[in-house]
C-alpha cells in the first residue's frame, strides 16, 4: 500500500524513494522549478521549488517524500519568495526576452509570467560573459545561463561525455566547456546530444532552429500554464474631482515607440478613451512640453543619454504617478544589449566604421547629449509607481489600465495581459 503526504491540503500518494516534487508531478500538482528535470539527478540549486515542509522551507526536488508530511507550496509567502528568486536570476544575467530566440519556449520567462513578476526592482548586474559561437550546430550564450547545471548533468548522465562543468565562484561563476580550446567546437558535443537541447533558457541553443516556430506560437505562448499567483503592484490614489478627466503624458526614451503603437492599437476605443483621458505632453498629439502637471506619466524606453535623464526627471516632477511601460523602461531592453561594451567602441562602430557612414568622425557638437556608460531601467533613476510589462504591452493592457484608473479602481490586469518580456 502506498503512503501519502499532503500538498496544499491535497492528499498525494508516493512511493518510497520519491522526492516531494516527483510525488507532486505524479499527482499533477505543479511546483515551480527550473533546475529540476525528471530524467536527471536532482541538483537543488535554483531553489525555485522551495516549499514549506512540516514548517521548514526545503527544496522539494531534493527532499524525500515521507508519510504524513505537510507541504505548503502555492501560498502567498512561498510564491513571493519564488518571485524574488526569478528576479535574482534575471538581474544577475543578461536576459533580453524581446531579442532572445528562446522567448516563448523559455522556462525562466514562463516562470516569471506565472509568478506575476512585472519588474526586476533590483539593479541589473549587466555581467560581461563570453559567447561561444564556435560550434557549427550549437550556440552557447552565457549571458542567459542560470547555472541550473542541466547541460552538465545531461552530458554526463545521458550523453556520457562530460562536455560542461561549472567553474569559478560567487559572481564569477561560469559555465565552462571541456575541450582543449575551451570552446564548444572541439568539445565532442553533437547536435543530437541531450545536452544540446536540455537548456531551460536560451543559453544553449541549436543553430538554425531559433525561429522555425514564430514568436506567438511557441510552447508557452500557446499554453503558459496556470498562473501560480498574480499580484501586480498597487497604484497610489489620484485625487480628482468627480467627472474630471485624467491627464496623461507619455514619452519614449531609448525605445522604439512600439509601446506607443500598441497603445494606438486600441483602435476605435480611442474615441471612448478621450472621453475620460486628456493627453498632455505626448508624441501622440505633438505637444512638446508639459502645459500643466499631469496625473499619469507613461514612460517607454530605457535611459541611455543625458537628454533621457532630463526628460525622465521632468516627468517625475510633473506627474503624480509614473508608469514604466514595456521591456526597455523596465529592464533596459534591447538598447541595453550594448551595456558592457566600451563607449568609444560603440561610437566608432556607429560613426566611424559603420556601414554607409559619410564624413566619419565621432560627433562632438556641444548641443548633443552625452551617452551614458550603461542603458538603465527607469526605476534606477527615478521612483516608479507601477510597471506594465511586455514587448510591447498589449493594446488591451493599456485600455484596461487607463479605464481602471478613470473609474478610480486599482488596475487588475488579467494573466494573459501581464506578460514579462
Amino acid at each position: 500500500m502506498s503512503q501519502t503526504l499532503k500538498i496544499d491540503g491535497v492528499t498525494v500518494p508516493f512511493v518510497e524513494g520519491q522526492t516531494i516534487i516527483q510525488a507532486a508531478q505524479d499527482a499533477d500538482i505543479f511546483i515551480p522549478h527550473l533546475c529540476y528535470h525528471p530524467d536527471y539527478s536532482a541538483n537543488g540549486s535554483c531553489k525555485m521549488c522551495t516549499c514549506r515542509v512540516n514548517g521548514r522551507q526545503m527544496s522539494s526536488c531534493t527532499t524525500k517524500a515521507a508519510a504524513g508530511q505537510v507541504v505548503e507550496s502555492n501560498t502567498e509567502e512561498i510564491n513571493s519568495e519564488r518571485r524574488v528568486l526569478a528576479q535574482l536570476l534575471f538581474v544577475e544575467g543578461n536576459h533580453h526576452c524581446p531579442s532572445c530566440e528562446q522567448s516563448g519556449n523559455c522556462k525562466l520567462q514562463n516562470m516569471a509570467h506565472r509568478l506575476g513578476m512585472t519588474a526586476l526592482t533590483f539593479p541589473n548586474f549587466y555581467p560581461g560573459r563570453p559567447t561561444d559561437a564556435s560550434h557549427p550546430d550549437v550556440l552557447l550564450n552565457r549571458d542567459r545561463c542560470i547555472y541550473c547545471e542541466l547541460c552538465v548533468r545531461a552530458s554526463r548522465e545521458s550523453d556520457g561525455k562530460d562536455v560542461f562543468c561549472i567553474s569559478g565562484r560567487a559572481e564569477n561563476k561560469r559555465l565552462a566547456v571541456n575541450s582543449r580550446s575551451g570552446e564548444l567546437l572541439d568539445s565532442g558535443l553533437t547536435r543530437d546530444d541531450a545536452a544540446a537541447s536540455v537548456c531551460p533558457v536560451g543559453a544553449l541553443i541549436r543553430k538554425r532552429e531559433g525561429f522555425a516556430t514564430p514568436i506567438g506560437e511557441r510552447e508557452f505562448d500557446r499554453n503558459p500554464g496556470q498562473a501560480v499567483n498574480i499580484r501586480a503592484g498597487t497604484l497610489p490614489k489620484l485625487p480628482r474631482q468627480p467627472g474630471q478627466k485624467i491627464r496623461v503624458a507619455t514619452c519614449s526614451l531609448a525605445g522604439c515607440f512600439g509601446c506607443h503603437m500598441s497603445l494606438l492599437d486600441i483602435d476605435e476605443r480611442l474615441v471612448d478613451l478621450v472621453q475620460v483621458v486628456e493627453f498632455d505632453r505626448t508624441p501622440l498629439d505633438d505637444i512638446k512640453d508639459f502645459t500643466q502637471d499631469c496625473d499619469i506619466g507613461l514612460i517607454e524606453g530605457g535611459v541611455c543619454n543625458t537628454e533621457n535623464v532630463e526628460t525622465l526627471r521632468k516627468f517625475r516632477e510633473r506627474c503624480k504617478v509614473l508608469i514604466a511601460v514595456g521591456a526597455c523602461a523596465i529592464n533596459g531592453g534591447v538598447p541595453s544589449l550594448r551595456n558592457g561594451i566600451d563607449v568609444r567602441e560603440l561610437l566608432e562602430t556607429s560613426y566611424v566604421d559603420g556601414l554607409g557612414v559619410d564624413n566619419p568622425g565621432i560627433p562632438t557638437d556641444p548641443e548633443l547629449p552625452y551617452i551614458l556608460e550603461n542603458v538603465s531601467p527607469i526605476h534606477e533613476v527615478v521612483k516608479v509607481d507601477y510597471f506594465l510589462p511586455g514587448c510591447p504591452p498589449p493594446a488591451d493592457a493599456f485600455w484596461h489600465i487607463l479605464s481602471n484608473i478613470a473609474q478610480d479602481q486599482q488596475p487588475d490586469l488579467p494573466y494573459d495581459l501581464m506578460h514579462f518580456d
Binding site: 562530460d162 552625452y370 534606477e380
Partner: protein, 592 residues
C-alpha cells in the same frame, strides 16, 4: 617573467608534483596548490599536463583553479602578497598598509607591479586577528604589517631579498594565551587517553563524552557523543576521522594556537575518535593560510608514529591502525562547512552537499565520517584521559570554550572560559573600555550592543565558534557591517540562486547606503531579500549573509540615519559618473 619562462616553470612544477604524488587523482588539489606555490600559477599548460596525468577533464581542473582563491591561471609576481581584509585587520590599519605598498611599489589598481615582480591582493581573514594587519607573502604569514613595516617590506622587495630571508621576528607567530582552563592548562600524557578509550571500549567512551556534555566547538554546538555514536553504529567497511582545521571565521584564531602548541593533544583526540568509531584513516584539513604550521604538524605525526601512538598496531594492540594525513585547503571559507570540506578533500570544488544524508552516515567517499573541529577533538582527548570531570567547573556544570578575543581591547588573545560566562566578564578580563559593541561568532554570528553584555556565552544564549571582536565607541558600525557583507559576497560558492545573486545585491545596497544614497525603500528591499536568503539558501553562508546589515540597522540605527535622508526613494544613479567616459572621448576628439 616572460610567457615562455612561466610556461616552463609551470610545466616543470607540474611534472615534479605529478611524479611526487604518483599521478593519483585524489591529490589533485594538493598538486595544484604546490604548483601554484612553486611556479606562481596553474596555467593552461599545467592544466593540460594534469589532465593527461590524472585523467581528470580539463574543464574540471579549470573549475578548481577558478574556485579556490589561492590558485591562479595567470602568473602571480615573484613576491606574491595577500593582505588580510578582515575587520580586525582594518581596525589595525590594513587599508593604510595597502596604500603604502601600492604607492611605494608602484602597483596598478589590480595590484601588479609593471615588471610583474610583485602581486598584491586582498584576502579574507588570515587568522592573525590579534596581530594584524596580517599578510601572507609567498605562503609565509607576516604579522603586524603597519605602515612602517610596509615601508620596510618595500625596501626588502626592491633590493630583491627573498621572503625566506625577511626578519624572523615578523614570522614568529607566538600565540597569546591569556586565560587557561583545563585544556590549555593541563599537560596531558601522550597515549593515556587512547589507552583508556581502548580499555573502556566504544560504548563507555561515548558515554563518557555524553556525561562531559561535549559539543561541537566549531560553532554548531552539536553533541559530540551523538555524532560518534551515529557514525559508529552504521554498517560500513570503512570510516574516516576528519579534523576541521579550516579556521576561516573572521576573528577566530584559537585553532591556530591549538595546532601549534597542542598538536599532540589534537592527534590524541583524533586517535581516540578513530579507535572508538573504528576508523583507519584520518585527515587534518588545514587552511592554506596556516601553511606555516604544516611542517611542524607533520613532525608531530611522525614522532607519534615512532612512539607507537599512530600507524600500525597502536599501543601494541594488534590490528588497531590509524594513519593521519595533512591536507591543505586552497582558499575558500565555505570549506569550513563540513560537507563542503569533504568535497574539497575529495579534490572537488567546495560546494556544500545536499543534506541529509549528513557526513556521519555518508561522508568522505560515501563512507561514515566524523568531522570535528580542532578544539572538539582536543577536549575529547582531555575527557578521555581524565574522565568527564576534566571539563567540570564551579557548580559542577560541564563545559568550557576557547574564545579568540580581538579588536579594541588591551589584552587580545585566547581565553578559555566556562560555558555560560557573561560577555561583560570577558570584556573586563580583556581590558576593553568604552565598548560600543561586540561581534560574537563572526560575521554570521550575533552583534551585541554594550547594553546586552550581561548575556552569556555559548552555547545556548549567544553562540560562537570562538570569534569575539570588540568595537569601541570610535568605530562606525555601518563600516563594520559593510566589511562583513563584502566578505560573504566574496566567499559565496555561487551554487544556489539566493546566495549567489543575493550576497552581491546586499553589497550593492549596503554600499549605496554607505555612499549616502540610501532611502527607506532600500531598507525594505534588504528585508525582502533577507527573507528569501534566510529561507531558501543552500547553506549557512547565504542564510546569514544579510544578518550583519539588518542587525546593525536595528541596534545602531544612528549609523544609518547620519547617512540617509528621510525619503522613500533615492537613486544610486549618478549622471556625472555615468557620462565620464563620454566626456573623455568627446574631449579627446575635439583636441585631435
Amino acid at each position: 617573467m616572460g610567457d615562455l619562462a612561466v610556461s616552463t616553470a609551470s610545466r616543470s612544477a607540474a611534472g615534479q608534483k605529478l611524479a611526487e604524488y604518483e599521478n593519483n587523482p585524489v591529490n589533485v588539489l594538493q598538486i595544484m596548490r604546490q604548483i601554484q606555490l612553486q611556479a606562481g600559477c596553474v596555467d593552461a599548460d599545467a592544466i593540460e599536463m594534469l589532465s593527461d596525468g590524472l585523467g581528470i577533464p580539463r574543464a574540471q581542473l579549470l573549475a578548481l583553479v577558478q574556485f579556490y582563491s589561492f590558485l591562479h591561471l595567470e602568473p602571480r609576481g615573484k613576491y606574491d602578497l595577500y593582505l588580510s581584509d578582515s575587520i580586525t585587520d582594518r581596525m589595525l590599519g590594513s587599508l593604510e598598509t595597502a596604500e603604502v605598498l601600492t604607492h611605494e611599489l608602484g602597483l596598478s589598481p589590480e595590484g601588479h607591479s609593471e615588471d610583474g615582480e610583485v602581486s598584491l591582493s586582498m584576502t579574507s581573514c588570515t587568522g592573525l586577528c590579534e596581530r594584524g594587519p596580517a599578510m601572507i607573502a609567498n605562503g609565509h604569514a607576516i604579522q603586524r604589517v603597519d605602515a612602517k613595516r610596509a615601508k620596510e617590506i618595500t625596501k626588502l622587495i626592491t633590493s630583491g631579498i627573498p621572503v625566506e630571508d625577511w626578519p624572523v621576528v615578523w614570522k614568529a607567530i607566538d600565540d597569546t594565551i591569556v586565560k587557561k582552563g583545563p585544556l590549555l592548562g593541563t599537560t596531558l600524557t601522550p597515549g593515556a587517553a587512547i589507552e583508556r578509550a581502548m580499555r573502556l571500549g566504544p560504548h563507555l567512551t561515548i558515554a563518557e563524552l555524553e556525561v562531559s556534555g561535549l559539543r561541537g566547538c566549531g560553532g554548531a554546538g552539536f553533541p559530540t557523543h551523538l555524532k560518534w555514536e551515529t557514525c559508529r553504529s552504521i554498517d560500513a567497511d570503512q570510516r574516516f576521522v576528519v579534523c576541521n582545521a579550516d579556521e576561516g571565521e573572521p576573528g577566530t584564531f584559537k585553532d591556530r594556537a591549538l595546532l601549534s602548541q597542542y598538536a599532540e593533544v589534537l592527534l590524541e583526540g583524533m586517535t581516540v575518535c578513530a579507535v572508538t568509531i573504528g576508523a583507519k584513516t584520518g585527515y587534518i584539513y588545514l587552511r592554506h593560510e596556516y601553511e606555516f604550521l604544516r611542517t611542524q604538524l607533520l613532525q608531530h605525526i611522525e614522532a607519534r608514529r615512532e612512539a607507537g601512538l599512530l600507524g600500525r598496531n597502536i599501543l601494541g594492540h594488534h590490528g588497531t591502525d590509524f594513519e593521519v594525513y595533512v591536507y591543505m585547503g586552497a582558499g575558500s571559507y565555505v570549506c569550513g562547512e563540513e560537507s563542503a570540506l569533504l568535497e574539497s578533500l575529495e579534490g572537488k570544488r567546495g560546494i556544500p552537499r545536499i543534506r541529509p544524508p549528513f557526513p556521519v552516515t555518508r561522508g568522505l567517499w560515501g563512507k561514515p565520517t566524523i568531522v570535528n573541529n580542532v578544539e572538539t577533538l582536543c577536549y575529547a582527548a582531555g575527557i578521555l584521559e581524565h574522565g568527564a570531570a576534566f571539563v567540570m567547573h564551579k557548580g559542577n556544570e560541564p563545559g568550557w570554550k576557547l574564545l579568540s578575543v580581538s579588536g579594541d581591547c588591551a589584552r587580545p588573545g585566547i581565553y578559555e572560559i566556562p560555558l555560560g560566562t557573561p560577555i561583560s566578564e570577558v570584556l573586563a578580563e580583556c581590558g576593553a573600555s568604552d565598548v560600543q559593541a561586540i561581534q560574537v561568532g563572526g560575521p554570521g554570528g550575533e552583534l551585541i550592543s554594550e547594553s546586552e553584555s550581561g548575556r552569556c556565552l555559548p552555547f545556548d544564549d549567544v553562540n560562537t565558534g570562538g570569534s569575539f571582536i570588540v568595537f569601541d565607541s570610535t568605530r562606525d558600525m555601518l563600516d563594520v557591517a559593510s566589511n562583513f557583507t563584502h566578505f560573504f559576497a566574496h566567499e559565496s560558492c555561487g551554487f544556489c540562486t539566493p546566495c549567489r545573486a543575493g550576497t552581491k545585491l546586499m553589497v550593492q545596497m549596503t554600499d549605496k547606503i554607505l555612499d549616502g544614497h540610501g532611502a527607506r525603500l532600500d531598507i525594505a528591499q534588504i528585508r525582502r531579500l533577507n527573507g528569501v536568503m534566510t529561507q531558501a539558501s543552500h547553506c549557512g553562508l547565504g542564510q546569514k549573509a544579510a544578518v550583519p546589515i539588518l542587525t546593525t540597522f536595528e541596534k545602531f540605527p544612528e549609523s544609518f540615519h547620519q547617512r540617509m535622508e528621510d525619503v522613500d526613494y533615492k537613486p544610486a544613479f549618478d549622471v556625472d559618473a555615468a557620462i565620464e567616459r563620454s566626456r573623455e572621448i568627446v574631449s579627446e576628439e575635439r583636441s585631435s
